[in-house]
Subunit: 402 residues, 2 copies
């Protein structure tokens, strides 16, 4: 039985590089993984502009101006954002200027409008200003040639805003992996079907579908394979057109053997089959035609945790994402927890900020069939395989979900 | 000038209830706000089932069984998940059972296969078991009638999984607000256009577009209004078919007066115009035909922060979302911060977990035009208006973004 760390290493080792890149329109970029370094090809802002409403002047012209000593300048024009900007400032002249408007040629400072008085084409200035005062310089935000966005980030609203301000209407991002989702088991019925004793609705296909989307992949539902070699063979073959294959079994043991056998027949290179963790000990992993294959256990919680712990990191690596890791913190445990040595436990929990630190407690019974434990959780308490008890009041490692 | 708290209260007070609800297919539910309480109409699991591979027995039949004292039972059939389940367990009989298969009629316990030996239709049992042993009961996860999901949550993968397991292929969610996005200003050009002195690319429409989507709304781009009453009137009128209107100005002061004037002409009930905050002091808010109107300042950072602080909470209230608040924590400040009394500061920052607690530092120069400060940020340091200095090593309030 392999450890969680060993298994994750094997998974990441099996993911060879990314799927390639594609150019995507700016409005479709949010959530995608940037696959290039973006350097600015311009200064932002692109011109020196006024930080105030006032008058653009030559600072030397108004040396000595004060409340008692107004200095009169001829107004040569008005600059407003987006308006005409042909006027120039020469000796004895000023240009009325609005916030955001470019600094006129010849001016080297701006006097605030509050310290002036204008009438009949003349402005009287009651304040002297330093050279450069109230001027914001071109490139103060970003300089031509600056590295603005590094590859591997997940693009968000601010990134989109800055791409737009640089005039980029698309960017190169990693292709999204297509992830085949296959449920298996004679007991699995469609969610619309009436439930009968022995039958279980196919909830895994739905939770996996959403997990794949949330992790930046394209879910491809491959239906349900029955517990026969033929059905499994057909279904698993049909998954090979995807980049990653995720199967989830029913609750019987025998079925795993079938999946494993059939996958080996189909050419899978098995990396591990059982992982020292709970939930989700049976966890088949291998590669087939260079593609990762995950045979997750069929219990709803085991499936979701197996996805979190193994499939999601594989998807992050496959998209070159450098920021996809779940946030981990420490929290004060609000109850005793009993685990089992030799198994790493992923315990569904609610973690909240309280009085300067995180506190956490479990979401109740933790059976691997108890999807309600997952529904209430915002996080996982991770208890290492070296220990079997964590006391109330101890610090525990917590991984946030989503 | 209104305080941030006062302004937010005015915004939330102006949002009257939600936009109504709609039924949405299960695969389109992720990210939507649930608008009903969901009670289970079945037990999950729906039947008692075996937790082990083994034999379903009457516990009374194997009283006294041990390694030295095998008790022989006739095998009446085999139950596997999804298989035939017609066999019954009567006195002296057992049924071979796989994990997940329903407990046969007449059986009250399961013996693990490891403690049995079978041959020729007979199984020898070497262990006695308690009544109920290795049996998982119907309803152990969810009972018929349990409240499973409460209204106001944002649906995620676990929620979708549990809806599927209850056989629900749709749910009632809040309608998504349509949010009109209008840029204003003669200086604003399309992102594809060549930049000229005095011109600024329309990045706000893009960052707002993504912010609206991220907050569960439908962005509706209404283009750019020019700095004339006519252009603004036409453009603002065209926004009235949406549920929320968000305008962002240029950088000039005069323009705000136009927006305010025109909106008042159109019938806006003004609630506030300036907020004691930085960035984003000019922040017009009112209602028109019962719809919230936000006149955000035009600087890229001010626009984004204005959205975060005011528009997003309004959207959350409009969708009945009870869990949309950004997470706030305390962090150790890694540098001195100088602010200004009377203004609440929203300082772009990078906050990370380090040695058992959060630490945070600013993303550098904080000018309201410095979109790069937002690009690097994962959080906002919020400095209250009552103070004007925070020293390195102090605890500060941090709000995570996204």
């Amino acid at each position: 039985m392999i450890s969680v760390d060993g298994a994750l290493k094997a998974v990441l080792g099996a993911v060879k590089g990314t799927l390639g890149t594609e150019d995507v329109h700016i409005l479709d970029l949010p959530g995608r993984v940037l696959a290039e370094d973006i350097y600015s090809r311009c200064d932002i802002p692109s011109f020196d502009y006024s930080a105030m409403d006032g008058y653009a002047v030559r600072s030397s012209d108004i040396k000595g101006a004060s409340g008692d000593n107004g200095i009169r300048l001829e107004v040569a024009g008005e600059f407003r954002a987006g308006g005409d900007i042909s006027a120039k400032v020469s000796e004895g002249r000023a240009v009325r200027i609005m916030t955001g408007a470019p600094i006129p040629q010849g001016a080297d400072a701006v006097v605030m409008v509050e310290n002036t008085k204008a009438a009949g084409g003349i402005v009287e200035v009651f304040e002297e200003v330093e050279r450069g005062e109230n001027i914001r310089l071109a490139g103060e935000d970003i300089r031509n040639g600056d590295l603005v966005l590094g590859n591997g980030i997940i693009l968000n609203s601010a990134h989109i805003g800055i791409l737009a301000s640089m005039g980029l209407s698309s960017a190169r991002v990693s292709k999204m992996p297509r992830v085949a989702i296959l449920a298996t088991g004679d007991e699995v019925i469609a969610i619309e079907d009436e439930i009968n004793p022995g039958k279980v609705r196919n909830s895994n296909a739905y939770s996996l579908y959403v997990q794949v989307k949330e992790s930046g992949g394209i879910p491809v539902n491959k239906g349900v394979a029955r517990d026969s070699r033929e059905s499994l063979r057909d279904a698993l073959k049909s998954c090979l057109d995807c980049d990653i294959i995720v199967a989830s079994g029913g609750v019987s043991m025998g079925e795993y053997d079938y999946v494993k056998d059939v996958m080996k027949e189909l050419g899978m290179d098995e990396k591990f089959w059982k992982v020292a963790m709970r939930p989700g000990k049976p966890n088949l992993f291998g590669t087939i035609a260079g593609k990762p294959f995950f045979g997750l256990p069929g219990n709803p919680v085991s499936t979701m945790i197996g996805f979190e712990v193994f499939v999601r990191p594989a998807m992050m690596k496959m998209t070159g994402c450098r920021v996809g890791e779940r946030k981990e913190v420490e929290a004060l445990l609000e109850e005793d927890i009993k685990t089992k040595k030799g198994l790493r436990f992923f315990i569904r929990a609610r973690t909240r900020w309280n009085n300067g630190g995180y506190v956490t407690k479990t979401t109740g019974p933790q059976g691997s069939g108890m999807l309600s434990s997952m529904v209430k959780a915002n996080s996982l308490i991770i208890v290492h395989e070296d220990i079997d008890t964590v006391k109330k009041g101890s610090k525990v490692k917590v991984r946030f979900l989503g």
